[in-house]
């Protein structure tokens, strides 16, 4: 069955320019998201997964970041070649659920005001003048407030009219996360990008929020992209996952196949350390995430790999499609087959 | 977390210097300050008319515009302004050194003691500091200064009396955060005396903040000092102090603009250099000092 592709990233390489040197944070990363899919990007802290997400969302600060090469397409639009105005339009189609609800809402503004601003902005067709007028005067403001309350209701917030006027400091973590979800749904998005959406919450709330997100994804027919370090979370949610290490996609494929038969040594190590990973040395894979300025030569993983070949230190492995839909980037695998 | 700190500090002196050199503004400030200091020290030999800094008067040459023989012109008593400026540099730089020296010696120990011991000692010392802080430096300094009879020396004492409070506050703040650090706990468990911890462990870790503050404050102290003299509560004629030179010259504006312009310009450039250097140091050490 041929599905429509929503997002296509090819050979994306991103560098960060800092005083201490250039960080090569993304290395020829590929990503495909089809309509109606749930994709996961799995990797430890510092693997480059957030950078990828931010690039898609359009919130990667462009100095100091620099797209060195590659392409990203959303449907037919080339994200990297668009005009800024077109990019703004596209941002509404890609929604963002941030990691930490405690710091993701502006503390000085009532929660409703952020929602209303976004709604009115969308309504005024992204023209600054029209926005300014509508914001202050007219019935549109009341309508926007109603719409905002409606959105809060959709994310199962009790008494939405009251919550509109509350400040973030008055809301619990779970409530804030719901508000953020409501904000994400404003632009009628097609893709939802959730950056570790439950890491900052209590376990009991975690489950409820995840369920809520899934519910909305189904209702609104969204595709979703989950960024996580938790394979357990990925396992329960995703159709396909991408495993990232040091800015490179080392393996990708359908969830079931990946779990049953992991190919890349890193993926194997990850599975051995379920349920949780941290950025420090963990069971099975000695060593630490490399310094992005002084990267190892050849395959970025080779210093930590249990069985490196001689080629691994010399050249980067190419991406090989070992089965339909199953990609690995490893010399040993490519030569073994 | 503390492992990172000593590692950074071990950055070689040579490498630090190279890094600092990249800041052109700070280097400009440093160079100018060196020039001024050298000029001040060598004033008796560098000045074309050294006697003009004292009692020499030449009324026949009064108020000659800048020209050959007198690059900055002469003032109302015919004295060479350039020579007077050089001697004035001595006075201002000396003021900065003395004022900051006194303020530092009083304020820093008090601040460390207050921060380290906390409790009643803390309250008392900091409340006294607060009282002194309610009044801007210039006002307080002038008030004290005039009650002591106006003179250059008294103005220096007055400014110092007022300046110690900000050193105290800085040392206090730094001590509060430093005393939480591991090396203090370790030292204490090894049985070091409080005195030792305060002055051999905590104080050295403040050096970068203190250095930045001293540099910036040197400029401000000179501003306050010359302001006091301008208003008449500090140095008195014929002392070639920059502040009173501007005050004396003001009577001859706008016709003869040079007696007021050049001393003021000297003050401005000197203070600016201190600020440039201090700002550069602040970036270099990555501290937050006002």
């Amino acid at each position: 069955m041929k599905k429509t592709v929503l997002l296509k990233a090819r050979e994306v390489t991103v560098h960060f320019d800092t005083i201490d040197g250039t960080l090569k944070v993304l290395n020829r990363a590929n990503l495909d998201i089809y309509e109606g899919e749930v994709i996961g990007i799995v990797g430890e802290t510092g693997s480059g997964k957030s950078v990828m997400a931010k690039l898609i969302l359009g919130i990667l600060p462009m100095p100091p970041a620099r797209v060195v090469s590659g392409q990203v397409f959303f449907r037919d639009g080339d994200l990297l070649k668009m005009s800024p105005k077109e990019r703004q339009v596209l941002k509404e189609k890609v929604a963002y659920i941030p990691q930490d609800p405690m710091t993701s809402l502006n503390p000085l503004f009532p929660v409703g005001s952020m929602l209303i601003d976004a709604i009115i902005w969308k309504r005024s067709n992204r023209s600054l003048g029209r926005y300014l007028i509508t914001r202050r005067f007219g019935p549109s403001r009341r309508e926007a407030a109603e719409q905002a309350a409606g959105l809060l209701d959709k994310v199962h917030i009790a008494d939405p009219q009251d919550i509109l006027y509350r400040y973030p400091v008055q809301l619990s973590g779970g409530m804030r996360q719901r508000v953020l979800l409501a904000m994400a749904l404003i632009g009628k998005p097609e893709l939802l990008v959730a950056d570790e959406p439950t890491t900052a919450l209590d376990v009991t709330i975690q489950k409820r929020i995840l369920q809520l997100i899934q519910e909305k994804v189904r209702e609104e027919k969204l595709s979703s992209l989950y960024i996580t370090h938790d394979l357990g979370v990925a396992r329960s949610l995703c159709d396909r996952i991408y495993v990232m290490y040091a800015g490179t996609v080392v393996e990708s494929g359908p969830m079931g196949a990946m779990l049953e038969k992991p190919l890349h040594p890193y993926t194997v190590g990850l599975l051995q350390s379920i349920p949780k990973l941290t950025g420090e040395p963990f069971d099975g894979i000695p060593g630490q995430v490399p310094d992005y300025i002084h990267l190892p030569s050849g395959c970025r993983f080779h210093p930590r790999c249990g069985e490196p070949t001689r080629r691994c230190a010399m050249e980067e492995p190419e991406i090989l499609e070992v089965e339909p839909g199953r990609f690995v980037s490893c010399h040993r695998i490519s030569s073994g087959i | 977390m503390n492992e990172a700190a000593p590692a950074k500090r071990k950055e070689g002196l040579a490498r630090s210097w190279v890094r600092f050199r990249k800041n052109h503004l700070a280097m400009a400030g440093l160079i100018f300050l060196i020039v001024i200091t050298v000029a001040a020290i060598l004033a008796p030999w560098m000045a074309p008319y050294p006697k003009d800094a004292g009692l020499g008067v030449h009324f026949d040459k009064a108020l000659s515009p800048p020209g050959p023989g007198h690059i900055f012109g002469t003032d109302e008593a015919g004295r060479d302004i350039f020579s007077r400026l050089l001697f004035g540099a001595r006075l201002s730089l000396m003021l900065a050194v003395i004022v900051l020296g006194i303020a530092f010696s009083i304020g820093v120990p008090l601040g460390i003691i207050a921060g380290y011991f906390g409790g009643a000692v803390d309250e008392i010392i900091m409340r006294i500091t607060d009282i002194f802080s309610s009044i801007p430096a210039l006002v307080m300094a002038m008030a004290v200064c005039v009650l002591l009879k106006p003179s250059l020396e008294n103005s220096m004492i007055a400014i110092a009396l007022v300046w110690w409070r900000s050193f105290c506050r800085l040392a206090y703040g730094e001590t509060l955060s430093l005393k939480q650090e591991d090396f203090v706990t370790v030292s204490r468990s090894l049985g070091s005396s409080s005195f030792y911890i305060m002055f051999r462990e905590i104080l050295p870790n403040m050096t970068s903040s203190l250095l930045v503050k001293i540099t910036l404050d040197a400029g401000y102290a000179i501003l306050v000092g010359t302001s006091i003299s301008y208003l008449g509560a500090g140095a008195s004629p014929p002392t070639p102090e920059w502040g009173i030179m501007v005050a004396e010259g003001r009577h001859y504006l706008p016709g003869s603009w040079w007696p007021s312009l050049f001393p003021g310009l000297a003050i401005f450039l000197t203070v600016l250099s201190f600020n440039l250097l201090g700002d550069g140091l602040r970036d270099f050490f990555d501290v937050k000092v006002e």
């Binding site: 919130i59 600060p61 941002k91 890609v94 929604a95 963002y96 990691q99 710091t103 993701s104 502006n106 503390p107 000085l108 952020m114 601003d117 902005w121 600054l128 400040y167 400091v169 904000m183 994400a184 404003i186 632009g187 | 503004l25 409340r127 006294i128 607060d130 009282i131 002194f132 309610s134 009044i135 801007p136 430096a137 210039l138 006002v139 307080m140 002038m142 008030a143 005039v146 009650l147 009879k149 501003l223 010359t226 301008y230 208003l231 008449g232 509560a233 501007v246 005050a247 504006l253 706008p254 603009w257 007021s260 312009l261 003021g264 310009l265 401005f268 203070v271 600016l272 600020n275 440039l276």
Partner: protein, 333 residues
């Protein structure tokens, strides 16, 4: 309840300062009687004066009398310079100084906020470096010199602004004591233009320092804001960048700057001494400067007390403002 604790604490500080002033006046060597009476006073005159000024009483009694004079009789002592009670003098002259300081701070904020925001957005660029240089310049000027230079260039050479004083013609009807405001309220355009031209010089000179400081402050705070999570969220919704900057970021950055900005006001009162002197501005600070030169103890003490009070007042106002502006603090009460 926190509010009252602060109030009490402020009161203690004021008492502390008054004691300090009292100590300075009475204890430091200097002969107030000699100055008041002159060289030809007879022994009886001196004794009489000594008794009148209560200088023969123990110190704590003197202090109590001192405080009494202030609160019961509204007297801060006779001023040698003005030959009337210091309280009266201050009442007359304070509005002039206040108007000047407020004008300077408004001027500073109007320019420094856009400068700070644009410098932050252009971080590392030429505009940022240029701003930094300007800021360093701004705090390096000796006020007396920059004042003189202003008078020289704009007053003498270009003849655009008057040299000294607060107004050339007749002042507008006294409603608030602020010439600018009063002339507007009474629709007295002539007086308005007159006072505006007069206040321009001193206000500009006085504003240079704060302008520099506030610009750097806003810049630093804005840079902090850029990396905040909630800004990323706003940007991800496709919100116009200008709105994100000037509405969301600036509001937070400004909130963090409030304390420092508030404390610039008492600092400016200090610089006002020099600026008022140079421009012959008839304010309290100039009186203070004159009092100091003339060894007018009462005058000096009076002015210092007022400045201390201003500081305390600003402190309290900032606390209240924070409660109003920052919901996090409001909720915690």
């Amino acid at each position: 309840m926190y509010f009252f604790r602060r109030l009490f604490y402020m009161f203690l500080v004021v008492v502390g300062v008054s004691m300090l002033m009292f100590a300075l006046v009475r204890v430091i060597p200097g002969d107030p009687i000699g100055l008041a009476l002159g060289a030809n006073a007879t022994k009886e005159d001196i004794e009489k004066m000594r008794h009148e000024m209560a200088l023969d009483q123990p110190l704590h009694v003197q202090y109590i009398r001192y405080v009494q004079e202030i609160f019961w009789h509204s007297k801060l002592g006779m001023s040698l310079v003005e030959k009337r009670d210091v309280m009266e003098v201050i009442r007359d002259k304070f509005p002039a100084t206040l108007e000047l300081v407020l004008a300077a701070i408004c001027l500073a904020m109007i320019f420094s906020i856009p400068l700070g925001v644009t410098a932050a957005m252009n971080r590392g660029g030429w505009w940022d470096h240029f701003n930094r240089l300007l800021a360093l310049f701004g705090v390096s000027f000796p006020h007396f010199w920059s004042g003189l230079m202003f008078q020289f260039i704009f007053g003498s050479i270009l003849a655009l602004t008057p040299l000294t004083g607060r107004i050339g013609g007749t002042p507008p009807t006294d409603i608030t004591g602020f010439y600018l405001l009063d002339s507007l309220l009474t629709l007295n355009w002539g007086a308005f233009k007159d006072s505006l031209l007069h206040i321009l010089g001193p206000a500009v000179i006085l504003s240079l320092g704060p302008l520099a400081n506030i610009t750097r402050l806003i810049r630093a705070n804005m840079i902090d804001e850029v990396s905040k999570d909630y800004i990323a969220v706003s940007q991800a919704t496709g919100m116009n960048e200008l709105i994100v900057r000037y509405k969301y970021m600036l509001r937070n950055a400004f909130s963090s700057s409030l304390t420092t900005i508030g404390f610039l006001i008492p600092l400016m009162l200090g610089s006002a001494f020099v600026v008022e002197k140079v421009f012959a501005w008839p304010g309290m600070a100039r009186f203070g400067a004159d009092a100091i030169i003339a060894s007018d103890f009462n005058g000096v003490v009076g002015v210092t007390l007022v400045i201390c009070l201003a500081f305390v007042f600003v402190n309290l106002t900032i606390d209240i403002l924070y409660e109003v502006l920052d919901p996090r603090i409001r909720v915690k009460r």
